[in-house]
């Protein structure tokens, strides 16, 4: 085992997959010599050259449009959108091309693309650079959504995403890049669609992902001192969603709290809550509860931004309310 940051874990996964398969290449803004805005691709151009670590013009539509085309003719592109907020500029390529091509060609064409993007608030970068966008993407049939919370998950899931024959959107969180975790020295891959129980507990299930996992774990630790046993589950991929693991946990604890940083209305939490309401109905002893950001843009003012992002305190209060 070795300790590594989330950012380094992603870089290792990208490098290993590019060594393994020469069809894998990356393209994005400032990803080559500059190493990417968040330094995920730092140094990769030295090993793989500018043909496989390609800088592009500041035009997201070109990046993803070209990547979808390359994927259709047999390449395995890993395009990067610098900020997930700019995802809206490439929605047509994702929704109408990448996600549909396999269906419309009766399986003749495949789009094995991994679209990477950094999302999330906490850096004080304001309304246009801090959004969490997984909710927008949940309603697109034909893509997979990966959203890791730890270095271990980031690496294993990135390798699985690159090997997957479907278009995958891979959402990294800015506030997690510098977080550290242990990973094995040897190679490993994490199957998409498998949730991970980050902490076992018996009184309430907290379903969270991405940057909400460290907060949920902290909340669980604090409440453990009061004798409240919290189970924390990270779905790790929202599509496909490991409903079996979620339902099994809620059937055990009888209470579910879903926490995400993106806005509450129509978010991933709504989907998870609907599934639990059906599949775990006869086990529920409290209403399924969601915590998310308010339905506003991410505020630029630091105190407001802090208020906007769901906090440990809100999670603790949410758990207390469920047990009340």
């Amino acid at each position: 085992m070795k300790e590594i940051t989330y950012r380094e874990a992603l870089r290792e996964a990208l490098a290993e997959e590019m060594r393994r398969d020469e069809k894998v290449f990356m393209m994005g803004e400032d990803i080559a010599n500059y190493g990417g805005s968040f330094k995920v691709t730092l140094g990769l151009v030295e090993e793989f050259g500018t043909n496989r670590v390609k800088d592009t013009p500041l035009a997201e539509s070109v990046i993803v449009g070209a990547a979808v085309g390359a994927a259709m003719v047999g390449m395995r592109p890993v395009p990067e959108i610098m900020f997930a907020d700019f995802m809206v500029l490439v929605m047509d390529h994702i929704v109408n091309n990448a996600a549909k091509m396999t269906y419309m060609s009766d399986g003749e064409l495949k789009v094995p693309m991994v679209l990477r993007a950094a999302q999330g608030a906490g850096t004080g970068s304001g309304a246009h650079h801090c959004q969490s966008v997984e909710g927008w993407l949940m309603n697109i049939p034909g893509i997979k959504i990966v959203i890791p919370s730890t270095p271990y998950d980031a690496k294993g899931l990135m390798k699985a995403a690159i090997r997957d024959n479907n278009p995958v959107v891979f959402l990294e969180h800015k506030m997690l890049y510098a977080t550290k975790g242990m990973i094995p020295e040897e190679e490993y891959v994490i199957e998409l669609g498998k949730a991970d129980i980050k902490r076992e507990g018996s009184d309430v299930t907290v379903i969270a992902y991405s940057a909400m996992i460290p907060k949920a774990l902290k909340a669980a630790e604090i409440l453990a001192k009061e004798g409240i046993s919290v189970e924390v589950i990270d779905p790790r991929t929202l599509k496909p969603l490991d409903t079996a693991t979620l339902v099994k946990s809620v059937a055990k604890t009888k209470r579910a709290l879903i926490v995400h940083e993106s806005c509450l209305t129509g978010g991933a939490g709504a989907e998870i809550a609907a599934i639990l309401a059906k599949e775990a109905f006869d086990y529920l002893d409290a209403p399924i509860t969601r915590i998310g950001a308010p339905d506003t843009p991410v505020p630029f003012s630091p105190p407001l931004e802090k208020y906007f992002i769901p906090s440990e305190q809100r999670i603790i209060q949410g758990i207390r309310d469920l047990l009340g």
Binding site: Y283, L284, D285, A286, T296
Partner: protein, 410 residues
């Protein structure tokens, strides 16, 4: 925005509090730090202070109600805010946010629809129980939870058992009561309820045996008469005999480790720390301050701690945590003319020392009949853990220390 005043959680074990007195009524102005209410916990009375200045918009629970911690019990409108429609008032931002939402709880849901969680409904259905019979649950807004149904089922079972033999006695003549005989009902809530439950639990848990030893208090009383004025002058404290008993007990516990124990998970735990609780009268009530690590303290330090805790208790400043964690308890009923009594063990401790009233009596002293001040040490011990001889030896050690009190000061 108006500020919610919630039931405080004072101490790790507090789960609910009794509003024993409201000092304010709706419409009253409050200053920051002003006392709003007395909150009675299972141990003490707390003063709940306002954290902001403003006007009381609403008191949500009447005096005498027991409310879970963190639940809102009052609403304070800030200066300039309207007091009347305070609940409907929302900030501009939250109005924008909420305007997109459809009401989550339509008011016209049939009123005879009992509120219950899905698991509660399922269990009720499986057991042919009418949820309406349970009435109000313990969940938010009276929602019936799984726990409520299980408790109700348990009660039904108990009733069934109790009802069984009554058939045989049904013919026994019972004098019909024509008129309502005068009775008064005192709700078993708050401290009363906790005491009742704790007493029941202790008797259900331990095997109580009490035995007594007479001790000669004359020398201790004489010693304290000499010391007390000095300490009062020098340190501003008045040592009572209790301080010496705490010290003697801590010393004796160290010598007899089995007395300072608990049963946990089928094991006897011998505690190597000596936290001695001593029951003290405060106002009309009784509290048990815990003197932590009493073995490491001098009699004077113990006296200081007791008087400090009593002072705080008199000012309602005590935290429940100051009354918890004892490993042994002393109950001195000296003022109440008691010769011998059988105190009940404070769980999960394994013994409790009762001290009876000191009286002057003729006794044989140094081969002569003399008038001496004597009292009884009444030790109740849990016979599951402590054998008779072990209890006797413990009492003997205390007797020796009290009858040779200079040993307590060294």
């Amino acid at each position: 925005m108006p500020v919610n005043v919630t039931m405080p959680k004072n101490g790790m074990t507090m789960i609910e509090g009794l509003i024993s007195k409201w000092y304010k009524k709706p419409g009253d102005t409050v200053k920051e730090g002003e006392v709003l209410a007395d909150i009675t916990t299972d141990k003490i009375v707390l003063s709940l202070e306002a954290t902001v200045a403003g006007t009381i918009a609403q008191l949500l629970h009447p005096e005498g109600s027991t409310v879970p911690v963190y639940e809102t019990i009052a609403i304070i409108a800030l200066p300039g805010e309207s007091v009347e429609p305070v609940i409907a008032q929302k900030s501009a931002v939250s109005e924008v946010i909420e305007s997109n939402r459809v009401s989550e709880t339509p008011g016209d849901i049939a009123e005879n629809n009992v509120k219950a969680t899905p698991i509660a409904k399922r269990i009720a259905k499986e057991n042919n129980i009418d949820l309406a019979a349970i009435g109000t649950g313990t969940g938010p807004g009276g929602r019936i939870k799984e726990e409520d149904v299980l408790k109700y089922l348990e009660k039904l079972k108990e009733k069934a058992v109790a009802a069984a033999p009554s058939v045989a006695f049904a013919a026994a003549p019972v004098k019909a009561v024509d008129v309502q005989e005068p009775e008064e009902y005192i709700p078993l809530v708050g401290i009363r309820k906790v005491i009742a439950d704790n007493m029941r639990k202790s008797h259900d848990t331990a095997v109580h045996v009490t035995s007594t030893t007479e001790i000669d208090m004359t020398d201790l009383i004489a010693l304290n008469k000499k010391i007390a004025p000095q300490w009062e002058k020098q340190y501003g404290i008045k040592p009572t005999l209790n301080s010496y008993f705490v010290k003697a007990t801590a010393m004796a516990l160290k010598e007899h480790p089995i007395i300072n124990s608990s049963i946990v998970d089928n094991k006897i735990v011998l505690k190597k720390y000596y936290h001695v609780g001593i029951a003290v009268s405060v106002g009309e009530g009784l509290i048990v301050p815990v003197i932590r690590n009493a073995d490491k303290l001098s009699v004077r330090e113990i006296a200081e701690q007791i008087s400090f805790i009593v002072k705080r208790a008199n000012n309602n400043q005590l935290s429940p945590d100051e009354l918890q964690g004892g490993t042994f308890t002393i109950s001195n009923v000296g003022p109440y003319l008691v010769q011998i009594f059988t105190p009940v063990i404070v769980q999960p401790q394994s013994a409790i020392l009762g001290i009876g009233t000191t009286t002057e009596r003729p006794v044989v002293y140094n081969g002569q009949i003399a008038i001496r001040s004597v009292a009884n040490l009444c030790l109740t011990y849990d016979h599951r853990i402590i054998q008779g001889a072990q209890g006797a030896k413990f009492r003997m050690t205390i007797k020796e220390l009290i009858e040779n009190p200079m040993n307590l000061l060294s």
